[in-house]
Subunit: 279 residues, 2 copies
């Protein structure tokens, strides 16, 4: 099968590599409005050729949308206009908005909404890596709104990549990712800003930074052109989590202010329950 | 030389392994009020024998204090009482309090205050690992209050372990670690509590957790008996950083509430400057 990947960045590029590794495709066509990205993707042999969107859609059986989610809102209805007899899927981090926008589209059934739970803090085709998705989870949202044959093709594809498929309603998905992905990015960005602020008066503040700091702050390197649109589209859920997170931080603050170390101990013991989840 | 390590946990045990790997010691004596820890340390061959504190001090040239910082406050003056002709060093995360407490001690000069910048979220002798310290930074605090020969011995020891020595005033050290270590632990604990709170109404909230979440939350597994005393002793510095961090989070909150995405973009672009520090 011929696959068009629209947006040959970190996710699109890594997906291209995975599809090639597993021998699932005959040809991969890259589409990107950034000429440099397209060139890098060709040089790194992520794609076989670069084409404009229209030509790529015409030549492909499967169109994978892997651009930032703001571009998705505009592009998805246009792509669906030409999607009869083809399958379109996305890999975006946020679902409700785009699914509402195409609810009444005559080709809605050709679209399968997916979210592979993998990423790094880097971006662009130079950040694409092989073997990225194996063993990870992938969400398929609102499966019942997609045609059966389209869902089957995508399920088969992700299974062959060694991913574990989770089915979820788009609204529930968006709440979940606010908790287990989006808030992690916000805490990391805010932590970076906290220490960078101190650096203005204290030159060598990073001299002692070690593994623990690096681990909590590494997501702060993530690209704003990817994350601002995600935060915009998941604004309400993220505000809920952010309020909860600030109130959890205030408990630590209160325990220190009041020198209530029994309470501080309890807060930490509760946090330790995360061992159940993160081995 | 014979070395006594008081507290054969993660740090003490890993230091024992490093000293043996580099052939820097003839004998390592372990001291621990937890019999099980002592047994594990013997079984894992971290130490050559276990002894009570008094006997261990008598038999050793160098005494390394590697217990939680609350026990340090009590023990350090007692150890110094018997430290004539020997060298004592600690590896604790916080310095000003303990250094004030021994300021007038007749054996103050025999003590070298150090903080190797390495650790993990695990604890106990079973968590000790080889090769832990190589290439990392180690702080020596208030060097001028220690005897020259004592400082020389410790500098030599850390150099042989392949560590990069940084000299720092204790007060400055405590501010620095609040920014690049202690706050990371608090954000991680609070993030774990945020998501665990949500789990009470949403069973499968962790189903989609991937690498990014794991990275920001892994420190939340850290041991309260180590961290409560650190937070107690560095209370004021941590409250300063925590207030700054909450105010940084509030900026993200404000940008979302007011749908001011230009501001959100700026906040993230500023956080991206951390790339300079964390490669």
């Amino acid at each position: 099968m011929t696959v068009a990947i629209v947006g040959v960045g970190l996710i699109g590029g890594s997906l291209a590599l995975a599809l090639k590794e597993k021998g699932l495709v005959k040809k991969i066509i890259g589409v990107d409005n950034n000429e440099l990205h397209l060139q890098t993707a060709l040089e790194r042999q992520l794609i076989h050729e670069g084409l404009p969107l229209d030509a790529a859609i015409k030549a492909s059986d499967l169109i994978i949308l892997a651009m930032p989610v703001d571009a998705m809102e505009t592009l998805l209805p246009l792509v669906l206009d030409s999607a009869s007899g083809k399958v379109v899927m996305d890999v975006g981090s946020i679902k409700e908005g785009i699914l509402s926008a195409i609810k009444e589209h005559s080709n809605r059934g050709r679209f399968v909404a997916t979210h592979p739970m993998w990423g790094t803090e880097y971006s662009g085709p130079e950040a694409a890596v092989g073997g990225a998705f194996t063993g990870k989870a992938v969400v398929i949202c609102d499966k019942e709104s997609s045609d059966e044959d389209a869902v089957e093709m995508i399920e088969n594809l992700y299974q062959q990549l060694g991913m574990q498929i989770v089915y979820m309603n788009a609204i529930v998905h968006d709440v979940h990712v606010a908790y287990v992905s989006h808030i992690s990015h916000i805490t990391s960005f805010a932590l970076a800003n906290t220490v960078l602020e101190k650096e203005k008066e204290e030159d060598a503040i990073f001299e002692l930074a070690s593994g623990g700091f690096e681990s909590t702050v590494r997501l702060a390197k993530s690209n704003p052109s990817m994350w601002v649109p995600i935060f915009m589209q998941n604004r309400e859920n993220i505000l809920d989590v952010l309020n909860e997170h600030i109130s959890q931080l205030r408990k630590f603050k209160a325990s220190l202010e009041k020198e209530n170390y029994k309470y501080l101990q309890e807060l930490i013991e509760n946090a330790n329950k995360i061992k159940r989840i993160i081995k």
